[in-house]
């Protein structure tokens, strides 16, 4: 598969957006505060570079590229799962339940791994690869559900921390747009070569761009004053 100029452009924008997230959070001295986000985005940038190298060196159909793609995808999904858990810890910071959330996350990760293993256990060939792919898919689904529950909690608790809201919102939009793209590709396969093939890379760019914007423009102290509070104040 040959990459065209638009592929290169989208890849470059995505890569620089990922670097921008890490740079902005370092500049704002929030690197450790949002460590899971920075790890996820940093690894995504590294994976982008490695995939680019592998694609050029071995080609799209090579075993090397396929192994790199599926194994790195699995690693990134695990990191993204911890990003979601990290948002939960931020949201419930005042309730001092950080340890419980951490334990729940480990339990969920372990449970998903066991479930994934049981599904593919009867296959004797390529057991590890099948396990990695299945774990990635199941954990992604768990992450999507957890993000929607998290967004529900943000709305229910009337969260006012602008940065946290925008970070969670960006993740929710990313998961939802990914699902919509998947659905559209199944509904209109005719549009795949002309329009829909650009959707996944554009959706992938969204997340680092939105997070970079949030780290750049929204400070940790920014708060939303809800309409209800204002009405009460007046």
């Amino acid at each position: 598969m040959d990459l065209g100029p638009i592929d290169y452009l989208l890849w470059l924008i995505g890569f620089f957006a990922e670097v921008a997230v890490v740079v902005c959070s370092l500049k704002r001295r929030n690197f450790l505060r949002y460590l899971p986000i920075n790890l996820y985005v940093g690894f995504t940038a590294l994976v982008s570079l490695s995939e680019f190298y592998c694609l050029r060196r071995f080609g799209f159909a090579s075993m090397e590229y396929n192994y790199l793609y599926y194994y790195s995808d699995s690693l990134l999904t695990i990191l993204l799962f911890f990003v979601v858990i990290h948002f939960y810890q931020h949201l419930f910071v005042e309730m001092n339940v950080s340890t419980h959330i951490g334990a729940f996350a480990i339990f969920l990760l372990f449970g998903t791994a066991v479930f994934s293993y049981q599904v593919i256990a009867q296959h004797k060939d390529h057991l590890t690869t099948r396990f990695v792919v299945d774990l990635s898919r199941n954990l992604y689904f768990v992450g999507v559900v957890l993000t929607y529950v998290l967004w529900g909690a943000v709305l229910k608790l009337r969260e006012t921390r602008t940065r946290l809201i925008q970070l969670v919102l960006a993740l929710g939009v990313y998961f939802t747009a990914s699902a919509a793209t998947y659905a559209l590709r199944n509904m209109f396969p005719v549009l795949e070569p002309s329009i829909l093939k650009w959707m996944p890379p554009i959706v992938a760019i969204w997340l680092p761009l939105a997070w970079a914007f949030t780290f750049m423009k929204v400070s940790e102290a920014d708060r939303l004053e809800t309409a209800q509070l204002l009405a009460r104040a007046r």
Binding site: W151, V173, A177, A180, A183, M187
Partner: protein
């Protein structure tokens, strides 16, 4: 095909929900700002209360006034939200008065947001003018 359609409809509804939440957060952040006498005079606003239907006029005034350009994205999002609310109000009005009232309240908030943005732009223009006068002296 049915599953794909279902996923698409649900994701579209969720994206809409995220968009509405985002716009409401943008609008909420402007509610704490008091409108200056200057903008009230320019836009004909009384008692710090901006009516929903004034949004179009306020955005026209915004286009006439130079700004830093940092509010363009937010203004665009709120304009789309306002159009959505206007459509909702029209469709829902005969069926549910409560939803129509909520849509009207939200439209008023959109107009207030536009008035705050106009206020900021007027201050910016005055600053620019003052700088130019000082520079020429």
């Amino acid at each position: 095909m049915i599953i794909a359609t279902l996923i698409f409809v649900i994701s579209f509804a969720l994206l809409l929900q995220f968009f509405v939440s985002y716009c409401r957060s943008v609008i909420a952040s402007s509610r704490k700002a008091e409108l200056s006498e200057r903008v009230c005079e320019v836009a004909g606003i009384r008692d710090q209360r901006v009516r929903g239907e004034e949004f179009a006029r306020l955005t026209q005034l915004l286009h006439l006034c130079p700004g830093r350009g940092d509010d363009v994205g937010e203004l665009r999002a709120v304009s789309v939200y306002y159009a959505l609310l206007a459509a909702t109000k029209k469709v829902v009005h005969p069926v549910s008065a409560a939803v129509a009232r909520w849509a009207e309240d939200e439209r008023e908030s959109c107009s207030y947001f536009a008035a705050v943005a106009l206020d900021r732009r007027i201050s910016y223009s005055r600053e620019l003018l003052a700088q130019q006068i000082t520079g020429s002296i």
